[in-house]
Amino acid sequence: MCFFLIFLILPSVSARDPALHSQYSTQVSILSAMELIWNLCEILFVEAAAAGPLLLRLLDWVRLHVCDVDNMVREVLSSENPSKHELFWNVVDVFVLQGRMDEARHLLAKEASANPTSVNMYKTLDDLMKKMPVPSLGNTQTLTEMELKWQHWHEECQRYLQDGTFASNSHMESICKILLGDEDAILEKKELLATWYQFLVTRLLYSHPTVKPMELRFYAQSSMDLFLGGESSPEPLDTILMAAFEFEMHQVIKECSIALSNWWFVAHLTDLLDHCKLLQSHNLYFGSNMREFLLLEYASGLFSHHSLWQLGVDYFDHCPEYGRVYLELHIERIPLNTEQKALKVLRICEQRQMHEQVRSICKIMAMKALRNNRLGSALSWSIRAKDAAFATLISDRFLKDYCERGCFSDLDLIDNLGPSMLLSDRLTFLGKYREFHRLYGEKRFSEAAKLLLMLMTAHIAPCSFWMTLLTDALPLLEQKEVIFSAEQTYELMRCLEDLTAGKSDKQKFQDDDVETMKVEMLRLALARNLARVIVKEGTLEGS
């Protein structure tokens, strides 16, 4: 987990906007706390560091996270004459407290060279620090060996202290006391320790370097008590860390949930612990349920964000029991402000075979488009939804538009319907009708004529549209060249008669002049065509 980005942003922002700066600082603090907890959990739970390496890990942990002394260190080291700096001994103390022996010795060497009279004293201290046994990471020594060595070393330090070797220099004497693990001496440096957990680690380093994991809790509790000294009560962060030192995983998660304002941290921590199979081994039989519960909570929260919802999808995918149904419920509620967003959501649903959601979303988009009179968009959405009824409705609208305006809108869409044309009869008719117009425009008259006739005889066209189709046939009938064959002409006549016969007398009475005239014109045109075609077909070729 790296928060470096925030550290980079922070300085540049701070100059410009104090409110923003304070907001970022706040977030940095919280993130730092989370990182602190997370790393400790890694050491104690995931890695389950054993006695020996445990101390080394804890030292690393503290060095990584307690760095307000870094500024001071830098200041002293970069000064011209470090050993004369007023904070010199503070820095040496810091190094010793954090077990950074080499750095401490390096600084002391500078001081030694500046004070040749006390060279022996420095040499002794340097020697002690060099010889200090530390647990090794590899298997080069067993714990018992190490403990033995350490005991000897400890006694040696004790002798030098009692001999008064460092009596003339209070700083060095206190360092020696720290090396001996003298609690009071260490506590004197409270300011440099800054936190009780730093104090704990220092204590362990100099009095119980081979501490076992299960012993941590006692040292932790006493360290906190000693450090806070009854002046202040533990803060939430302290409680969480203490729970970790006590290996109470459940408590850690619970305290984090209370202290933090969203589920991000606990969800991921629990997930990690669950994957390491730690929740079960700690007798939390509801372990995996809790993991899923937290992940569901976190992911649900993501869904209220305008773009982070996409992350939420992945989280739900990893919740075996309720993930899918949560996703189904949430994904339908995402505001579909733009087509791109709708398509994105649809892709996600289609990938997971959420057919009902796909249908629903397409329907919603189709309705929206229809309300805004964007017929082409509505049609393509209803095709995607495989909603035949809606497609029929929209096709009807298209046809109505055509009748009123004499032209089609959204030609591209209708021309390229392809097999989706078959979704509904009306849609098929719309597609074919447009094809007829195209053929006519390309002057492929006989094909157009065949299509037109087929539309009526195969009953693809709704009866209400037949009049329009027949009227469309007029220009074909009036062409110089004969287009319709005799048989076709007979068919057309039959259609016309079917149409007029179908009307009751009342309807005929209501028909206005235009209607009657149209019918008459059609009859005339058909008759004339028939005449011509009979002649044409009767004529022998070439004669």
């Binding site: 602190l36 202290a259 209220s304």
Partner: protein, 379 residues
């Protein structure tokens, strides 16, 4: 009297001639459709129309009343659309105890609604709720609540179920333990559970589970019998609870009461229900509010600003003291602090006092006030 819509523009619809009790949205699959019900004994259905593209109303939308349902002889107290898988259907309930279910057979024609069912509940009805479950294992179901004040102890919540054989709604269950007037009732979204969850707003907040038992094969048409349990009862409002509303996933319940507060209830993974938040109507902070982490799913027809504050996504909720300006690369862990989240409502006066509460960061040893709240328990 008037319906007011808060959106990017406000629209006032002169509609009913009496107080409008409730307003509800239909599923967006049917377009932008609203229903309202009123003291004037009618319920109305509205649709939003966008202006034609060639007149000067182009792109502007306005609301048109599509139909008025006038069958009721008394005040219509609630109107709710049925779950979308049932088509375009709605139910109304009236003060004279009749629940009516209407259907629009043609979803594109909202002016044609036919009365499909009339259910006589024998008690004055105040609220209804459809069971949103679309599972085929569950028949359509309506819960009806009554605010009848008469002293007889008839159960104030009844459950009606649709019977496939008789093609009618019949009473399946009555919650005998609810004897106080009921103001609101709400089924939770189903989540694939085999049982139903019902929230009731009465003199307190109650949550029931209804487990369907094997359908009785002897009774005509097989009405489901239910095993009813009360899983939560909260009187924190200390007054009449008026409304209850579920979030999308049915995991958070919001209740509002005469104490002027909205309370949020949530179950942890052990199925124990607890209060996870209190919102006070006038914005002032609430003392003793109990909060455990966050409940971040939206509440019914969500108010997004409410949602964001519930998310806690803004870390400014933590009132940290001003820190020294950072040097690049330095880490802040020593200042790592996890102060408990303040109560839900951030009021400007809170921010001022908070900065006084917390001392300079370097002196970590100094005592700090703890806001940890008494009711906090397991996640």
């Amino acid at each position: 009297w008037n319906l007011q819509f808060k959106g990017c523009f406000g629209v006032i619809l002169q509609t009913h001639s009496g107080s409008v009790w409730r307003v509800t949205w239909a599923h967006p699959e049917f377009g932008q459709v609203l229903a309202s019900c009123s003291f004037d004994r009618t319920a109305a259905v509205w649709e939003e129309i966008v202006g034609e593209s060639n007149d000067k109303l182009r792109g502007q939308s306005h609301w048109v009343k599509r139909t008025t349902l006038v069958d009721s002889r008394t005040s219509v107290t609630d109107v709710k659309f049925a779950p979308k898988h049932m088509g375009l259907m709605l139910a109304t309930c009236s003060a004279d105890g009749v629940v009516r279910i209407y259907e629009a057979p043609d979803v594109m024609n909202l002016s044609q609604w036919s009365l499909q069912h009339e259910i006589s509940c024998k008690l004055s009805c105040s609220c209804i709720s459809w069971n949103p479950s679309s599972s085929r294992a569950h028949s359509p179901m309506i819960a009806v609540g009554s605010d009848d004040n008469s002293p007889n102890i008839l159960a104030k919540v009844q459950i009606y179920e649709y019977n496939e054989n008789t093609r009618k709604y019949a009473k399946a269950e009555a919650l005998m333990t609810v004897t106080d007037p009921v103001h609101d009732i709400a089924f939770a979204p189903n989540l694939g559970r085999s049982f139903h969850i019902l929230a009731v707003a009465t003199k307190d907040v109650r949550i029931f589970t209804l487990k369907p038992l094997r359908k009785e094969l002897t009774t005509s048409g097989g009405l489901t019998k239910f095993e009813i349990h009360i899983v939560a009862q909260f009187d924190n409002h200390n007054s009449q609870v008026w409304r209850v509303s579920w979030n999308i996933t049915g995991t958070v319940l919001a209740s509002s009461g005469d104490d002027g507060c909205v309370r949020l209830w949530k179950a942890n993974y052990m199925d124990n229900w607890k209060c996870t938040g209190i919102l006070k109507g006038n914005g002032s902070p609430v003392n003793g509010s109990s909060q455990q982490g966050i409940f971040n799913a939206s509440l019914g027809s969500a108010n997004t600003s409410l949602q964001n504050s519930l998310n806690g996504s803004s870390a400014s909720r933590y009132f940290f003291p001003p820190l020294d300006s950072p040097r690049a690369g330095s880490r802040w862990s020593s200042h790592a602090q996890l102060l408990p989240p303040p109560p839900l409502i951030e009021h400007s006066c809170d921010a001022d006092t908070a900065s006084l509460q917390y001392p300079h960061p370097r002196r970590r040893c100094v005592s700090r006030p703890l806001n940890l709240l008494p009711e906090n328990e397991g996640v």
